[in-house]
Amino acid sequence: MRNPLSETIVNIKPSGIRKFFDIVAEMNDPEVISLGVGEPDFDTPWHIRDEGIYSLEKGRTFYTSNAGLMELRREICNYLKRRFNVEYDPRKQVLITVGGSEAIDIGLRAILDPGDEVIIPQPCYVSYEPCTILAGGKPVIVNLKAENEFRLTAKELEDAITPKTKLLILPFPNNPTGAIMERNDLEAIAEVIIKHDLLVMSDEIYAELSYKEKHVTIAEIPGMKERTILINGFSKAYAMTGWRMGYVCGPDAIIEQMTKIHQFAIMCAPTTSQYAAIEALKNGDDDVEEMRRAYDQRRRYLVHEFREIGMDCFEPFGAFYVFPSIQRFNMTSDEFATRLLKDQKLAVVPGTAFGDCGEGFLRISYAYSIENLKKAMGRIRKFVETL
């Protein structure tokens, strides 16, 4: 029989997360505790769930328009104006997607032609590189540095640009490092982007989980809105991962093409989730703030603990991850994580799952209760003492 598989797909490496997930699953040990998840521990606030249930009771079980419910798009525009001071037209500049992940995928497909280069700062979320390849683009990796607190500098960006560069992916607040980009960092990046006539895909799914100043979107920097594809969603801010609710805002022309792909591939985002999302935007501000404060306390606690144990850890100001260094133990991230799992039954994710330059680091999630974090830190402490 002829080879049934696409060579492009076969050549894409499976996610490093997957590998670690399999090891944990194989152990199947109830004693194992994990700091390995990339989703909130909170339940979706009840009033939001209730609205989803109510929409089902009312029989709202049909497709919505391809771009999503108009009321939801309008609420998203109100929200973005209120929180981040950017204005979009709900009719032509917003598309509701199945999580932020779909927006990443179809955004790249709408923009890229074969050979176009996409600058991807790593460590970062696992899907940018494979989705770029699937869309025919060429990933150009920029290795971010711990000494810069894993922010992208204008110099690093400038050095990666070639005549074929079309797009920069800007994932801040960042998974896995917890790094943020502040206004002055973004202004420096914007200058380079405009100078070289590039586009930016800004993945701001963790925007609400910022612990220093309020998050700034690059779309708000003068001259940037027309070259920015802004991705956000409900998963992290409202603890709604399973609802699969994301959205993307951008220039009419790009959203129009993205909507075309979305229409053929997906049809529309889940209707129940769209109704719940309207409620989240209308009445969810307090829930977001309450969860943000809880994460903030856990973040301070973890940074303090890692420093106590003697593991270097820059203070992350975003998302729900800390990214401590293990360089002084003379082990790879993978070895460290594997031994920690075997010896102390604690699952964490090696930094290398998010790019080669994650070597020497671990991603520690604090989407867990303080009690769980304490238990886990006790195990890390014990493990480090044996080294």
């Binding site: 996610s15 997360i17 696992v126 998974n175 404060r293 306390q297 301070r300 994710v349």
Partner: protein, 163 residues
Amino acid sequence: MENIREAILTTIEKNSRIDLSELAIRLGVSEPDIANTLEELESEGVICGYHTMIDWDKTSIDKVSALIEVRVTPQREEGFDRIAERIYNYPEVNSVYLISGGYDLLVTLEGKSLKEVSQFVSDKLSTLDTVISTATHFILKRYKDHGTIMDTRTEDVREKVSP
């Protein structure tokens, strides 16, 4: 930055046993600042006590709780305060609230048995001069109290590792 007093209050409202050094780390302020603020809050009467939530139903100790609606005749000059005071001074009374709507005072109280609670209502409460009527509701099951769900499921159903 969130107001530090509010941050302390919302945190210890959920866990009053948290130690000062941990609270200091979690809120990003110094331990002496925490101690001073707590002292202030106590002396101002903002913090009125540090209690423990107990689900007595899970013990073999018998307890009965009741909510009692009380209608009273407000008194000249004192309004409801005087009668409220007469009621809250009984140690078996847990709480007394002045309520808007169909009745005036909501009294919650605890006793060892239905009989004990009924006796209190008929002997002590109903006989007070200004009390016009009472309606006693016994609590059959406590689902949630002070923001705590009594039978919580704490199982983490998330995948153990995810991107």
